[in-house]
Structures are given as C-alpha cells and as structure tokens.
C-alpha cells in the first residue's frame, strides 16, 4: 500500500515529472483548443519523439496533453462556436449562446470547474476499479479478448460516421493493415508482396499520424478563409452556489463519462454527446432552454468528457485494450518502452497504475490552474491563421513520421494514409476504427488462433464454449447488440422521417 502511495506521489515530487505534466497540460489545452490540432495527432507525433526518454517522463507528458486537450476543446467551442476537439462538440451547443450573451467568462469558468470534477471522478474510478478488474481479467479466456476487441471496433464504427457499413469497413481495413508483415506464429508472409521491407509491417504510428494529422490538415484547407471573431471575457470564477447546484448533474454525467470511456474504443466525444442528451432529459426546469445558453447543457458534456479520460485508462492498463483513440496511441508508447499493458501489467509493473493515477490528478489540478488563467493570451494564439498552422502541422507530421525509424519510407506511408484518410473523412467514413483496428489486429488474430486451437479447430466447440461461460456470453451478446441495435434505430428514424414526410404532404394537400 505504501509502495503504491509512493508511486502516486512520484509525479508530484520529481521536478522534471512535475514540469513535464505542467507543460503537457498547458500545451494540451492549446492543442485541444486550436481546431486542426488534435490530442491524438499530438500524442501520435510525440511517441516517436519520446522514444529515448524514460517511460515515466513520456507518460507524464502524454497524460498532461490528454487531460488538457480534452478540456481545451471547450474554449474555442465557447468563444468561437468551433469545437477544438470532437469531445467539445456538445459544449458548443450551449457554450456559444452563453458567450453571445456576454457570459463567456462564466461559461469558461464553469466548464473548467466541471471538467476538473469530472476528471477526478474518472481518476477515482480508475484507482478503484483497475486493481479489481485486472484480477478479474486474469480469468479472461482468449475468446473473451477476441469478443471484447470485436466489441470495441463495432462500437466505434457504429457510433461515429454516418453508417455502420462505413465504420465496419474502416475497422476491417485497420485490422488488415495490422496483419501486414510476417505472421508472428508461423513466419509466413502476409500482404508483403515480396518486399522484405514490409516484413516488419507498416508502422502503426505512421498510419496514425497520416490519418489523424495529415488528413485533417488537408481537410482544413477547405476552410482556409474562415475568420475568428473576438469575444469579451471577464468574471471567470463561478460562484460556489452555482457549482453546488450543478454538482448532482455533474456527478451523474461524470459517471456516464467514465463508463463510456471504459468501453473499448469509445471515448470523450461520444460520452459528451450522451451526457448532453441525458441532461436534456433529466433537467425539468432549466433557467434557459437548452440550445440557448442552459448551464446544464454546458456542465454535462464537460464533466463527461474529462471523466472519460480516467475511464479510458481502465481497459488500457488492465486488459491491454484501448478505451479510446488516445489510449490506443498511448498503448503504442507503452509497448515501445518495453511495458506490457494487460493483466500482467498489474502483476509485473503495478507502479504504472499508481503513477498514472497520481499523474492524472496532477494534470487535473493544472487544468484548473491553467483553465482559469491566461485567457486573453489564449484568445490571440488560438486565432493563428490557418495558412500558417497547416504547413506547421504537416511539417511536424513529416518529422514525426521520419523519427520513428529514421526511414523515409515511413514518411511515404504516412502521406499515403493521409491521402486515404482525407478522402475517407470527406465521404463520411470514420477514421477512428482504422487506428483501433491496427492496434487490435495482432491481439485479435492471436486470440482467435488460441481460442480455436484450444477447441481443436472446431467452430462448434468455440461457440459452445462461449455459451457455457457467463462472461463470454455477455460479451457475445454485447457484440451482437451493436449491429442489431444500430439497424433497429436506423429503421426507426427512417420510419419517423417517412411519417413526417407524409404528414407534411397531407398538410399541404
């Protein structure tokens, strides 16, 4: 216990870790705020740069950027109606109307405090649940890993993007990219087309930087001339009475955030949307209607998206399965530094959990400090013209891709995936499932083979094994529920729009 406590305090007492967390959080707030920069992009680029660092330092920086970035998106959502990060889309719904009423300062202050509360809820759950879950995870059979990975990809595909088919396609593509190279079990060539260079596969980092960094930069070129409007900002600190009044809703939405964050693959952006929806349903008499500056509409998504950060770390550390896109990238970093996320992590290197908990708490406090200060400078930096921002993003992406292995080929792969990602984003294909697929590919393949070999290559045996184990049954049920639920909801909304169409026609007749 005292061991864990000393690791918890590590980030607080070591000056370089303290500084890195602070720098990370501060930078993260700006990265999250500037539309065109994303936390996933930044963390992807940082993995190759922090390769030579001590693992704790790399993790501290990334945790800071994560926490800061998820919060930072709300700033521009409130001030400019441009969410800097997907997690802040719901924040703009009521945040921007508040700013238009001249209450930008209150909005920013409230969202900061609520984000910090949400953050602590998420971290608390991480601290409490992870040790229990990782013991439970030791009982996970290969088929359970297979099912949970499948669930993650399906969830991400179903909830983002315009259609389930597009999401499934993106996920499948990611899984296939992950199989490129020599088969780990039999050393047979897969998708290498005779190129020895491809035996080690395509670097997932190059794919990530391409799809999240370069593709997004190219998409931003469409909005080159969008100008930012300045806002007046004062009276930042929210009155204690208001915070207390919002507390129950904040705790409810934080819980939603943690659970969603913990689900493999889905993270802050979806948590924020569901939280906003929840707030709309449970708030009976908001001071102002939702969509016109209701404080509840601001509190809910902000608590949820920060709570999702702690939640996303749970499956990442205990099962080795990312809770969202950013933790997917952070898993890559853990592997590079020789760690093994998964149930063995708690046994072999338990200090990582306590270090992460302490680190995230520290980052959360920095969010509070940086969030309530320096807003005027912020407004100026964030209005950086896109003509300058976009080449800088691309430059750093190229440097980041080159730095993976000092190989120009990674840069070319990154560009190729940048082009693919550009068209995919343009046509409504979600790109999150690609990254998830790449990261989970080997895990799914190996667990599939282990599962089927242990059933003597009998598919029937595997299915009966699933039915007989309560855990596997629940997971399999969840896997089936996603496409079925998705199709059912789509047919319901299609019926509703068809009904309203005929109603309109009748009304006009």
């Amino acid at each position: 216990m005292s061991d864990g406590f000393s690791y918890f305090l590590m980030a607080w007492s070591d000056p370089s870790l303290l500084a890195l967390t602070a720098v990370g959080t501060f930078t993260g707030i700006y990265i999250g705020a500037i539309p065109g920069l994303s936390v996933t992009m930044a963390v992807s680029i940082l993995i190759s740069f922090t390769f030579a660092w001590d693992v704790n330092e790399a993790l501290a920086l990334m945790a800071g950027i994560f926490m800061g970035g998820v919060y930072g998106g709300s700033r521009t959502a409130i001030l400019l109606n441009i969410p800097g990060a997907p997690a802040a889309i719901a924040t703009a719904f009521d945040g921007y109307p508040l700013a238009k009423r001249g209450e930008a300062g209150t909005a920013i202050g409230l969202s900061t405090v609520m984000s910090v509360i949400g953050g602590f809820v998420g971290i608390a759950v991480l601290a409490l649940a992870a040790p229990t879950l990782s013991e439970f995870a030791l009982r996970f059979q290969p088929r359970d890993y297979l099912l949970i990975a499948l669930l993650g990809i399906l969830l991400v595909g179903a909830l983002s993007g315009t259609s389930l088919a597009k999401g499934v396609l993106a996920g499948a593509l990611g899984l296939l990219i992950g199989t490129v190279g020599l088969d780990p079990l039999t050393a047979e060539e897969r998708f290498t087309f005779g190129f020895v260079d491809l035996w080690a596969g395509i670097s997932p980092i190059a794919v990530m930087i391409g799809v999240f960094g370069v593709a997004e930069a190219f998409i931003q070129l469409h909005d080159l001339d969008k100008k930012a409007i300045r806002q007046r900002v004062d009276r930042i600190l929210p009155p204690w009475k208001q915070v207390r009044r919002m507390l129950p809703l904040s705790l409810q939405t934080s819980s939603i955030g943690v659970v969603i964050g913990a689900l493999p693959g889905v993270g802050g952006d979806i948590a924020a949307m569901l939280a906003y929806d929840h707030a709309r349903r449970v708030t009976r008499k908001p001071e102002r209607p939702f969509g016109q500056g209701a404080y509840e509409g601001l509190v809910a998504p902000e608590s949820a998206n920060n709570a999702a950060v702690g939640g996303a770390y749970v499956p990442m550390l205990t099962l080795g399965i990312p809770g969202d896109a950013v933790t997917a990238v952070i898993i890559g970093a853990l592997f590079i530094h020789g760690l093994k996320p998964g149930p063995l992590l708690m046994i072999e290197t338990p200090h990582i959990l306590w270090f992460t908990v302490g680190n995230l708490c520290l980052a959360n406090i920095f969010v509070l400090i940086f969030g309530l200060t320096g807003i005027r400078i912020f407004a100026r930096v964030v209005a950086c013209p896109k003509g300058i921002l976009i080449p800088l993003i691309v430059l750093m992406s190229v440097v980041g891709a080159y730095a993976i292995n000092n190989a120009l080929s990674d840069v070319y792969w990154m560009l190729a995936f940048g082009v693919l990602g550009y068209f995919m984003k343009l046509y409504g294909y979600p790109v999150g499932p690609i990254i998830l697929g790449v990261i989970l590919s080997r895990l799914m393949d190996e667990n599939w083979r282990r599962a089927i070999i242990s059933e003597q290559e009998s598919l029937g045996g595997l299915l009966s094994g699933i039915v007989q184990s309560p855990l596997s049954l629940v997971l399999a049920g969840a896997v089936l529920a996603v496409p079925i639920g998705n199709l059912w909801m789509r047919s319901r909304s299609a019926n509703r729009s068809a009904e309203s169409k005929t109603k309109n026609e009748k009304g006009n007749a």
């Binding site: 190759s48 740069f49 922090t50 030579a52 315009t162 259609s163 088919a165 597009k166 499934v168 396609l169 499948a172 593509l173 899984l175 296939l176 199989t179 088969d183 079990l185 039999t186 047979e188 060539e189 897969r190 998708f191 370069v214 190219f218 070129l221 469409h222 080159l224 013209p385 896109k386 003509g387 300058i388 976009i390 080449p391 800088l392 691309v394 430059l395 750093m396 190229v398 440097v399 080159y402 730095a403 000092n406 120009l408 840069v411 070319y412 560009l415 082009v419 550009y422 068209f423 343009l426 046509y427 799914m444 393949d445 599939w448 083979r449 089927i452 070999i453 290559e457 598919l459």
Partner: protein, 167 residues
C-alpha cells in the same frame, strides 16, 4: 434521402476493388487449409470488408441527392504536391534546408500576407522546431547538405572552452 458528394461513388468502388484484392491475396496466404492458419483471420476480415464495401456501393447508387461541393479544390492538390516535394528532398537537402524551403513556399502560398510575415514566421518556426526536436527531444533529422553534426560539435567545444577558460 442521403446526400452524395462528387466522386463518392468512385471512391466506394475503389474501396470495393481494394477489399476484393485483399481478399484474393489473403486467400493466397493459406487458402481454406484451416481455421487457425495464418490466412484465416485476414480472409475473414477481408470478407467482412468486402461485404461492407458492397453495402456502401449499393447505398451510394441509391442516394438521390447530389452535392456539387468541390471535393478536390486546387489548393489541396497544389499543397499536396508541395508536401510530396518536401518528402523527396528531405534526405538529399537535409532537414534545415528542406523544411525552410517548404515552409517559405507553403506559408507564402496559403497565408497570402506580406513576404516579411512569411519569412519571419518560417524562421521562427524552424528555430523553435530545431531547438525542441533536435536538441531537447534529440531526434535525429536528416543532415543532407549542411554539416550539422560538425557545427553542433564545434559549438559544443566552443561552449566548453569558454566555461573552462574562466576562473
């Protein structure tokens, strides 16, 4: 009715062709030899991808409304060629020269303000990026034409000599 963008059908067909190609190649790995063979997982995934691509192509064919919004505005193509050129010359010219040229051209093209602003931004960016990534993160960037390492070594020696020569 779903809106279709220009080129969306073509892209859908491209993805379908890609999926079929990957499926064929996956079959070539180990055929139907067994559920735990190295080709089993890739084949299953490629099959799923093919089904998804087919569903999308059919959906694209059905979508009635058409949005004529530009999908590949010239600015994107030109900028992409700049990035490609930068990647080509990165090794040969070295990071400092290649990146400086890239930023000057790209910012000049996209930002459309004064030349002074372009040059100032570029130089600031290169200096900051160099310090952060080369010196702090210690990332090895391609050296190319400029004898960077020799310069850094000389600078290091000079600094050491300065402090050693003191009291």
């Amino acid at each position: 009715m779903r809106t279709r963008r220009r080129g969306e059908r073509v892209f859908g067909l491209f993805l379908l062709a890609l999926a079929l190609g990957l499926l064929a190649h996956a079959y070539g790995i180990s055929g139907f030899s067994g559920l735990s063979s190295p080709g089993a997982f890739p084949m299953a995934v490629a099959a799923v991808m093919t089904i998804a691509a087919t569903v999308i192509v059919v959906g694209n064919a059905r979508a009635a409304e058409f949005s004529a919004a530009a999908v590949l505005p010239p600015v994107v193509t030109v900028f992409f060629l700049m990035v490609l050129a930068f990647a080509f010359v990165l090794d040969a010219f070295g990071f400092i020269i290649a990146a400086t040229c890239f930023l000057l051209v790209a910012i000049g093209y996209l930002d459309r303000h004064s030349v002074l602003r372009t040059v100032a931004t570029t130089l600031t960016a290169i200096v900051v990026i160099y310090i952060i990534f080369r010196l702090i993160f210690r990332v090895i960037l391609p050296e190319g034409v400029l004898p960077e390492r020799a310069w850094l070594a000389a600078a290091g020696d000079w600094l050491r000599a300065m402090f050693a020569g003191g009291p």
